[in-house]
Symmetry: C2
Subunit: 216 residues, 2 copies
DNA sequence: GTATGTGAACTATTTCACAGCT
DNA sequence: AGCTGTGAAATAGTTCACATAC
């Protein structure tokens, strides 16, 4: 992406959320200022990395003393669009899907689960907290009615492409895909893959000692 | 990492697993050869990327015709150390932990869950399939006894560092960390972070339209 | 003195492009 | 003719290092 003519790495965005989380903690325990070195220490990143990341968005620090925790927190909240609450749908209420449904952490991140879908007729109609599981056929109308903006895809590999198309068709623009398959969707749809087996496999590869180093 | 004097990107390793998965499918449906362009098509990667990745490990292709599916599959299985089965422990049997415990996909990836731990006394002793949940105190002896090589950390943020240290102390060298916190562990321990909230947050940031493009 | 902000240098990774093999 | 293998070019991302601000 581009900002003020500078290109901002995707990884910078991801780290901003980490800084924000840390700043929120610091704020709670009444720490008022922090240097890039300290913030880096707490997040396992270099001081230069912290400054560079923040530098893409403006000048938040004070030479000689560091960053004002509260101010920087607010700035990041603003930059990251955390003022808004996003409506999320979970598609596929198997083990992983129901774990995510039950996971309470999302609210604190501006994400609200408003719907859940499953192809299994036996599951349809069941309630999970305050969400009633609906059938896949109802995706389109529910996405519109509940203004779903983001969806989490936790269906089996074989169904993933098909369901993804249904979501796109219904107007969803962002998909967090847990199926270990590459989804083919239009350019304007943002897909993020989370492939748990692959993460583990990659780890085990490194464990096998076939690598030359062990750096993170 | 280094191989034949060439440096191999971490991301190449990760993609190798994707190729392997695809090749296994192709093999099942009796497709004998495939070009880098076709394999790239199926995995949403460029032909050049496919060839470059494979090129780090040797010459597997035939000019003019492509790669022999079976051969390449075997080569990758070998390179990635998928001949071995890795023993995995899950620490923290909450929603996510139990979803992973129940997730059957691991076996097909050479990963075998051999133990599960939880701090909650009420959960200790309960069985999940053929795994009995043990208390955190038993980590050290069980890791040794069951030869746990890889662990999945699904405990609350506040406990993560402490439990990670216990795992390291018990001899575990690889941790897949689901807690949204940076673990401080010795250099030789391989940690991979999977931060679900962060993935979603990053997606929502892009959804907010504050980015300049929508490329994946 | 201490810590930021930022070009410049460095490192990593991807894409290009084409010689060479079948 | 078609497709690989691979240096070279291009692009992306990180770290350095220092002038500048408080």
């Amino acid at each position: 992406m581009v900002m003020n003519g500078k290109k901002i790495p995707q990884s910078t965005i991801s780290r901003l959320f980490v800084y924000l989380r840390e700043l929120t903690e610091l704020d709670k325990i009444n720490i008022r200022t922090i240097s890039s070195a300290e913030l880096g220490e707490r997040t396992n990143l270099s001081d230069a990395q912290v400054r560079k990341d923040l530098g893409y968005f403006g000048q938040f620090g004070v030479s000689g003393s560091g960053y004002a925790v509260g101010e920087l927190k607010n700035a990041l909240n603003n930059i990251l669009g955390k003022d808004k609450i996003w409506n999320v749908a979970i598609v596929g209420v198997g083990h992983l899907g129901s774990a995510l449904l039950a996971y309470s952490g999302f609210d604190t991140h501006g994400l609200k689960i408003v719907a859940a879908f499953d192809a299994d007729e036996k599951k349809v109609g069941k309630k999970f907290l305050d969400i009633t599981i609906q059938s896949i056929e109802e995706i389109k109308q529910t996405v519109k009615k509940k203004k779903v903006e983001l969806s989490i895809l936790t269906v089996p590999v074989g169904k993933a492409q098909e369901v993804a198309e249904e979501l796109v068709n219904a107007g969803v623009e962002c998909i967090l895909n847990f199926a270990p398959v590459s989804l083919n969707v239009p350019e304007n749809i943002k897909v993020k893959d989370v492939d748990l087996s692959r993460e583990l496999e990659t780890l085990s590869y490194f464990l096998a000692g076939k690598n030359g180093n062990n750096k993170k």
